[in-house]
């Protein structure tokens, strides 16, 4: 498919241009700053919509990478890096998620952030550049650059506009992620030299046949970087800190998009690149995921701080995602992918809700609330819906994802893990509903809560798109699944099938080799 416009590049760099424009706006005219940032993010979102319709259009490489751009970038010495970007069914929805959540996040800052508005907006837009760039990179070097660049604005968002412990949280976030990604960088370079001369094209790396020992080490390095980002138990400790201290918009983006970088990394890189190692480590990863689900749920249950509770629920939800993708069958991976989007929508919404009450009461302690439903009926309704979505009630998006994940895991070798993980569904109902009950129902005792105002029009406007998606994805997930399916199939083939390919090829090649008397078959297991 030939294309005229470099759509993805335009998409990636529109926020950057927006950020540059903001540089020249007076820092005291908050209205202008917010409007420009909002306009840019909405524009980016609108421009990302043609991707949905354009992807898998007739005549295209169904399920493959589309909207390709490949421009030589650096060629020096042994390396060749290209500006190589493209999109498949897996990254498509994550890009949309990023562009979708951004205007919502920006809109949520209108009253919450009154200081250093200019810097905040610039940080948010730069973050968007990093997020889109990460998802569309097909060149591993480019991917790494975006992956790292993304840290910088997030570090500032947490560190400057965060809560009391912001500095600790920001530095922890940065260094945790940095250690993982630097080890990944080493693995990436090793991989490059293993692949021989060429470039950092991910498609080229997919074709590599690596020996199991190399695969193990490479997988460990990649998996560590991604596991920190996901975050998987026991590497999750940065997340509650970062989430609790980050400002609302930061939490929303962190939960909705940044955590998906980790799971996306597994789907795009760690698993398809190192299939044998994936098979070897599946029990370990599944165990950690299940521990993550149960442990994080239990910890969430005893949290006093609503935001921390939501943060721990994130760890549990991401555990489901990991379990699903490591089931490595259609249902599991589809469920995992859907769950990524669902988590983005529902946890994003939860953080917004926490933000709303925090803005009103400047506290997030569950004990400070109670009976808010009487005072804030609209808020209560929305909170309820989002809570249901987070629990995974049928009819909401959460159900579809979790169900597919568990189904997939049950069908695969991870059956017993699925059984334990199911308890996580119950636990999530326990901690979410319990929290909801303590915050919203009961007597309206605290006099400070008796004067609370319900959501205003702006806040309702922020929530409506999310609520719409909660139901839409819950009732009719088909469009999402359909456009993902071919790419997911490819990914599963790639992550699983290599072993079979490796077995088949020597068999085919055997007659030829036997002529030269070289026994080959036993070399490949």
């Amino acid at each position: 498919m030939s294309q005229t416009l470099p759509l993805l590049s335009i998409l990636t760099f529109t926020p950057l241009i927006g950020a540059l424009v903001l540089l020249f706006v007076n820092k005291n005219s908050h209205g202008v700053l917010r409007t420009v940032a909002m306009a840019v993010s909405v524009l980016t979102f609108v421009m990302s919509l043609p991707l949905i319709t354009g992807y898998n259009s007739p005549g295209s490489d169904i399920g493959g990478f589309q909207f390709l751009e490949n421009i030589p970038w650096i060629a020096a010495g042994p390396f060749e890096m290209n500006y190589h970007i493209g999109l498949d069914g897996i990254s498509l929805w994550l890009v949309i998620l990023a562009t979708f959540i951004m205007p919502i996040a920006i809109l949520s800052t209108y009253t919450a952030v009154q200081e250093k508005v200019k810097e905040y907006m610039i940080c948010l837009l730069l973050l968007e550049v990093g997020m889109i760039g990460t998802f569309v990179s097909l060149d591993l070097f480019l991917f790494y650059i975006y992956w790292e660049v993304m840290l910088i604005p997030m570090y500032f968002i947490i560190g400057i506009w965060g809560g009391k412990n912001k500095i600790y949280a920001a530095v922890k976030f940065f260094i945790y992620t940095m250690v993982g990604s630097l080890l990944m960088l080493v693995a990436l370079i090793v991989l490059y030299f293993k692949a021989g001369a060429g470039d950092f094209n991910i498609l080229r790396f997919y074709e590599l046949q690596l020996d199991p020992v190399t695969q193990t080490w490479m997988f460990l390095a990649f998996a560590l970087a991604f596991a920190i980002k996901v975050p998987m138990f026991p590497l999750h400790t940065w997340l509650p800190d970062a989430h609790t201290e980050a400002p609302t918009a930061g939490s929303v983006i962190l939960a909705a998009v940044l955590l998906k970088m980790g799971t996306y990394g597994y789907v795009r890189f760690a698993m398809p690149l190192f299939p044998e190692a994936t098979a070897t480590f599946t029990p370990l990863i599944a165990t950690l995921s299940v521990i993550g689900i149960v442990y994080a749920s239990l910890v969430a249950m005893v949290q006093q701080d609503v935001k921390k509770l939501v943060a721990y629920s994130s760890v549990a939800h991401l555990g489901f995602v990991m379990l699903g993708i490591f089931a490595l069958n259609t249902n599991g991976v589809t469920g995992g992918m859907l769950q990524m989007l669902n988590h983005g929508v529902s946890t994003g919404a939860l953080f917004l809700i926490v933000g709303f009450i925090y803005e009103r009461r400047h506290t997030r302690q569950i004990s400070d609330f109670g009976g808010l439903a009487k005072q804030m009926p609209v808020f209560a309704t929305m909170f309820m819906i989002v809570t249901f979505s987070s629990i995974g009630l049928p009819g909401t998006n959460g159900f579809v994802g979790e169900f597919l994940v568990l189904l997939g895991a049950f069908e695969s070798s991870l059956r017993w893990y699925a059984i334990i993980a199911t308890s996580g569904v119950i636990l999530s109902a326990v901690y979410m509903l319990w929290m909801f009950q303590r915050v919203m129902f009961g007597e309206l005792k605290n006099p400070k809560n008796q004067v609370l105002k319900d959501l205003n029009a702006r806040e309702v406007a922020i929530m409506l798109p999310l609520l719409f998606l909660i139901f839409f994805m819950g009732v009719y997930p088909r469009p999402f699944i359909d456009s993902m399916a071919p790419s997911i199939e490819r990914m599963i083939q790639q992550s699983k099938g290599k072993k079979q390919v490796a077995l088949v090829i020597p068999a085919l090649a055997a007659p030829q080799d036997s002529v030269h008397g070289a026994p080959v078959a036993h070399e490949v297991k």
Partner: protein, 484 residues
């Protein structure tokens, strides 16, 4: 009766050195005979001199030309390094004027001294005879001793000058002794001849005279590039020396040390690569780790940058250990990037500093982002680059150094390197924490940036970003420069 054959004299090979010598000497005279209180114009004149020299250096790009009976060579390797020296000298001069005025130093001799130091560095990069390298080193060192103690009224500066002189002299002794022993073992001080001798006599690897000589040379150079455990002089000298001179010392002379080190090690002892790679491996790990760990606990920003500069020498040694073309090219690229980012960082430190070397603690940067946002952003770029975070020159440089090590099979070295890099993030972030996340403690008097400062910062920040985003051209040049 035998006639002594006069070696062919080819002055074009040493033209940059000649130009700089003339400029420096003229400036000395101008300084004496032109009665003017304000000596800043000398700085601009020396920059013009450097620019002319740069033109002459660049015109030498191409096939290698040897001159003076093989004592000096004009090759791409030397050319690349000479450009690094000129750039660091020019940037250092740009930030000297205000500092020297603030500290009430007499600037008259400052600029000629910087130029003489530059000539010394150039000779180190282009020398192919141990004696020329040694003379270049001495010329450089003597200028640096004076420059380190240039702030005569300041005790710390005096201490820096004296300490540098004593330890420098000591290390020069090692180096010279090593050269003498090598001469004894091989019968020549010419690198090409030594190399030939080593090739023809593989047994020389077990000749104690030669091995000790080689080791002593390595020790001597390690002193110059401040590799651990020969780094002890660095923090005190860097902290005490006038800040612009610290910036200069950490960029130019360090690069010069590497230039000579690479030249001697790769040319003279190519056969012994396996032996000295082990040595360099240990040196690299020690240097990175010690530099980074001690930097973690520094409160004074100059001292912090001093330890960080030790760590950066360690990263460069990783590329050296790899001893392949990528590693050497990586060092070239890294030294160039380092000149920009480190001098840039020091420029910001100077701008914040007050008379008498006050205001030099990390905590003095509190709230800088809200008092001087642009300056804070510029400093942030330098710090991220020093930490090796994309899209900056520091990242690309480290990428090449570490991948060179991986290519040669030193995966563990690369892993230790990246972990060090991650640790270093902490102390660079700490400065940013103060700049962005703490409220200003007191109102600080902003002396204002002079145009020369602005120029220096613009060049440095521009280069740091350009080398980070589109490093292709420079990397290619670096690759060509190491095709010996």
């Amino acid at each position: 009766m035998e006639t002594i054959a006069m070696p062919a004299i080819n002055l074009t090979v040493v033209m940059p050195e000649i130009i700089l010598s003339v400029v420096a000497m003229v400036l000395l005279l101008v300084n004496v005979f032109v009665p003017s209180k304000n000596k800043a114009y000398l700085g601009y004149l020396s920059i013009i001199g450097l620019a002319v020299a740069a033109v002459s250096v660049v015109s030498g790009w191409g096939p290698a030309v040897s001159a003076f009976n093989g004592s000096v060579v004009q090759d791409n390797f030397a050319t690349f390094f000479k450009m690094i020296f000129i750039i660091s000298a020019a940037l250092a001069i740009l930030i000297s004027d205000r500092y020297m005025a603030q500290e009430e130093c007499n600037q008259g001799e400052l600029y000629p001294l910087i130029l003489f130091a530059t000539i010394g560095m150039m000779l180190m990069a282009s020398g192919t005879d141990m004696m020329v390298i040694f003379l270049g080193l001495e010329l450089l060192s003597i200028c640096l001793y004076v420059l380190a103690g240039f702030n005569r009224g300041n005790l710390k500066s005096n201490e820096a000058g004296l300490k540098y002189f004593l330890l420098g002299a000591f290390s020069t002794g090692f180096l010279l002794y090593g050269m003498a022993l090598t001469y004894g073992a091989t019968g020549s001080t010419k690198i090409a001849v030594i190399s030939g001798h080593v090739m023809n006599n593989p047994t020389i690897a077990s000749n104690p005279l030669f091995v000790v000589g080689m080791l002593l040379i390595a020790v001597g150079f390690s002193f110059k590039i401040a590799a651990a455990p020969f780094h002890m002089w660095t923090p005190d000298v860097y902290e005490g020396a006038p800040t612009p001179m610290t910036a200069f010392m950490s960029a130019g002379p360090k690069a010069a040390g590497f230039a000579a080190f690479i030249r001697v090690m790769i040319f003279a002892f190519p056969m012994l690569q396996a032996n000295w790679s082990e040595l360099l491996w240990i040196l690299a790990v020690l240097t990175m780790t010690i530099g980074n760990i001690i930097a973690l606990s520094q409160d004074n920003i100059k001292r912090m940058l001093a330890y960080s500069s030790i760590a950066h020498a360690g990263y460069a040694l990783v590329g050296f250990t790899a001893s392949n073309a990528e590693g050497a090219a990586g060092i070239l690229f890294y030294m160039l990037s380092y000149a920009f980012m480190n001098i840039g960082a020091f420029a910001v430190v100077i701008l914040i500093g007050k008379k008498g070397e006050k205001n030099g603690d990390v905590s003095d940067f509190a709230g800088l982002a809200y008092k001087k946002p642009l300056l804070a952003v510029v400093f942030t770029v330098f710090l991220f680059s020093l930490a090796g975070i994309p899209p900056t020159a520091g990242f690309v440089g480290k990428f090449y150094l570490f991948s060179a090590a991986i290519k040669s099979g030193y995966i563990w070295l690369a892993i230790i390197g990246v972990l060090n890099s991650a640790a270093s993030v902490y102390y660079y972030l700490r400065v940013m924490v103060y700049m962005y996340m703490k409220d200003p403690t007191e109102e600080f008097e902003w002396a204002g940036a002079t145009p020369s400062f602005v120029l220096c910062l613009l060049v440095a920040v521009g280069a740091t970003l350009v080398l980070g985003v589109v490093p292709g051209t420079i990397l290619e040049l670096a690759q060509k420069a190491v095709l010996f």
